[in-house]
Symmetry: C2
Subunit: 500 residues, 2 copies
């Protein structure tokens, strides 16, 4: 009884912290969708204040005592046990942050963001580099006070992918590089499928409607979420009952809206699948960013760029845009959305060369944090890396180091989770096909519900109960294994590119 | 120097409180505009948490000490002096609220709101009356711990219109009643102007565009604000740099969008006119709800229902809806938008009978708070009052006591400010005409900027520096005087209704 009462107090505190964090998320969502121009400055300050408050509310000694006592008393419920254990770890970690640091970081990112926007517009890194300098400094300080065994970068990566170390990433990325370098070379020697019809005029409203249709088909619950327009598509959540996605509609590039819808939809299904009764608690939160990305990538690429998915959807698409697509056979359309080609912009990259974009960022970040690369030298290091890895020249900084928002948010250690997610996605889907009878037949018929049900049961409902490595073993019986992605990529692209 | 440092600490605390309150406002705005159906429940909880936090953050003993010391040390700056004095009063008042009470009230209103919606939909007061019962209880408790001299209602009204007592309202409303009862009777004996053309089909998108045009003409700054759609039009502000209005577009009633745009636009101009450097401080906040309403009413009625305003705008309107208006002369249009007729719905009432709607609510509220009327008897009391004051039968509760949202928000003591605002509006405009050369000539020419400049200088820039009574004297040289409204009403409506 005593312990139950303690658990109740524990829950109430965490729910309040969640209330503040989700409030922050609403403010951020609004900032990216509807805020008028002049509103951004004070909005940044409001978000900083909430960040500081959430921190202060969480790290009180009183809450520490509740956690200590809960740890001592053994909860009979394994979910409760896990919640307490994980929260205690979070608490120990969060205590290392001073309120001043939290507010300073939030302020610096608020200042950095508009300068990143400006630098991008003006194609002038020097507008943003002083902010980047400050943020890298702060992140180094953060790594130091958080502590690490091998590499300061590990301390930062732990925020996004708990338990994963840079030495593991190094091993993985060596395997990825070795495989993809040769495979992409082979592909590049073949003639590329036609794709010019993707860049004709596609009416924006019709695209929007088609995207909403895709989200509905994926079972995105519009009574517990919505889609809006933003410059950079993203997903955010204010509870499992209110999950928001955004998209970007390009009049002359049909891909932009379509695969951002499916990608963000994948993230959103995860958030909508978390348990509302675990609101604010670890077992009601997403496992890791890598696992989050596994959901978006699974839907975007493994499903959304598969021939099976488009068997039912392509005729619909043709009927919306007959002027562009009526004479393009399904097979050609399928190939066009899977063209592999080294390119400049990460978020537009195909699913193979994509990983070079990640490796480049990973290496630069690691060197910045370990102080073996100076901020002022990033633009050049970036351009060199694109030459080395992808064999292409970077014509403008806008197409180079200024393309991604992450650094302006102070997010260092985030990028590797994109690759991890892609590999998890394929490994999970491989398992889903084994577990779910007629999975692919259903997808062909336009029914992705069996897949969603499997994801819900295997991943969404567990929240952080397993960490990403445990989860992967729990679902597939083994650790993350690149061979699944390798096999998937070789099978898919050998067929598309006629490679024997 | 010491005192300057103290003032800085004072400012920082208040700005944080403002950050939390404005964050709450963003969450509320989203709840009324974009939230998906299932999101409302947890959103209510999130807002409650923020309310509790803002309260706790404000009433700390440490902040009390800062205020005490600032009060002792004399600030040379009269704005700073006033800020400290007002904040000290707010502090004393806010300290009377326990966090539990704040959270309980917020929770009860969160629960009451959906039941009010349901009761309205089902035309069934019993769905909402238990919530109303609880809220009235809470408000009685609130009046008790806040304290009052004559009547508990005064304690509640003080939140919205500081310094105004129910005995003053009683005197004022007696004068209003005596005047309007006879005058409306006289008007009712005359034949009503035609207005059927206002209820033809008006395309929604065209209406929306016309409304945006009106806001622009009023100098609403769209780089520091925006308009959206909601069930009930409202204005909210997240800083003077981000002020949001909403409107409601009715396909078969041109009035709804137009005058809600102008009304909310008037509120919004006030919020946009507050000084950003006084963000979070009393002198950067609106004076009172009565003064706020004076701004919306001034624009909506005194300007927006005047012949002068439509001289330039009506030809534009005719060109947007020629099918409905090309054959309707300006004079007829002007009369149609000023038809006086006893009716059921407050927000659709003309500017004369409107005040009976307010008096009815005021009397019911007062009796509820003093416990001379039971909640269960409100529906009947309401219907009786409409018969007595307006001579009409209330056919459904939806058209009766369930029409307004205020009680579900726990807002008791709010309604009188609507009438006060209307009377202030006319008195202010009377003064503006004296102070500003060619004010009306400019309005006729479509230029309302001289009026706005006057409002900015006389009202907006001062925030709470003067209370409403002081402000009125400061601007017009005398206290609120009903005679201005009386003269305005008699002149305007005698012309419209051919009364000699």
């Amino acid at each position: 009884m005593q312990s139950e009462n303690l658990y109740k107090q524990y829950t109430e505190t965490l729910r309040k912290v969640a209330d503040i964090d989700y409030a922050s998320a609403v403010l951020q969502w609004d900032m990216e969708t509807y805020i008028p121009e002049k509103g951004a400055e004070l909005r940044g300050q409001q978000i900083s204040t909430l960040s500081g408050l959430a921190h202060d509310f969480f790290v009180t000694p009183a809450f520490g005592k509740i956690l200590d006592e809960l740890l001592k008393s053994n909860q009979t419920d394994k979910i409760k046990n896990k919640n307490v254990k994980l929260t205690h770890e979070d608490y120990i970690k969060e205590k290392k942050y001073s309120t001043d640091f939290v507010v300073e970081l939030s302020n610096e990112t608020s200042k950095a963001f508009p300068n990143w926007v400006k630098a991008r517009e003006e194609n002038n890194p020097s507008v943003f580099l002083p902010n980047l300098e400050k943020l890298v400094d702060l992140k180094r300080r953060e790594a130091d006070f958080l502590g690490y065994e091998d590499h300061p970068y590990d301390a930062l990566m732990d925020d996004y992918e708990p338990g994963v170390k840079s030495k593991d990433i190094d091993v993985l990325f060596t395997e990825v590089r070795n495989h993809l370098k040769d495979f992409v070379k082979t592909i590049s020697s073949k003639s590329a499928p036609k794709s010019d019809f993707l860049f004709l005029h596609y009416d924006k409203q019709k695209q929007w409607n088609f995207g909403i249709g895709l989200l509905k088909q994926m079972s995105f619950d519009f009574s517990a979420g919505r889609q809006d327009i933003s410059v950079h598509p993203f997903t955010t959540s204010f509870s499992p009952q209110d999950v928001r996605v955004t998209t970007k509609v390009e009049e002359n590039d049909f891909r932009s809206m379509t695969w951002s819808c499916i990608h963000e939809g994948g993230h959103a299904l995860y958030e909508q699948g978390l348990l509302t009764e675990q609101y604010g608690l670890p077992c009601g939160s997403a496992c890791s960013l890598g696992i989050h990305e596994s959901q978006s990538r699974l839907w975007e690429n493994v499903v959304g760029r598969s021939l099976n998915f488009w068997k039912v959807n392509y005729p619909k698409l043709q009927s919306v845009f007959p002027e562009n697509l009526s004479k393009v056979p399904l097979e050609d359309f399928y190939k066009s959305i899977n063209v592999v080609k080294p390119s400049l912009i990460r978020i537009e990259a195909d699913e193979l060369t994509y990983h070079f974009h990640i490796m480049i960022r990973y290496e630069i970040e690691k060197r910045l944090i370990e102080n073996s690369l100076k901020v002022k030298d990033v633009p050049e290091a970036w351009n060199e890396a694109y030459k080395t890895y992808l064999g292409i020249d970077v014509p403008t900084y806008r197409h180079g180091m200024l393309q991604d928002v992450h650094w302006s948010h102070g997010s260092f250690g985030y990028f590797p989770t994109y690759s991890l997610g892609s590999f998890y996605a394929v490994q999970f889907f491989h398992q889903a096909k084994k577990d779910v009878p007629d999975l692919e037949k259903n997808i062909i018929a336009g029914n992705t519900k069996p897949l969603l049900d499997w994801l819900r049961e295997k991943i969404h409902y567990h929240g952080r109960f397993y960490n990403s490595q445990e989860l992967c073993e729990h679902i597939t019986g083994e650790k993350l294994n690149y061979k699944y992605f390798k096999e998937y990529a070789e099978k898919k692209y050998s067929q598309i590119y006629n490679i024997n």
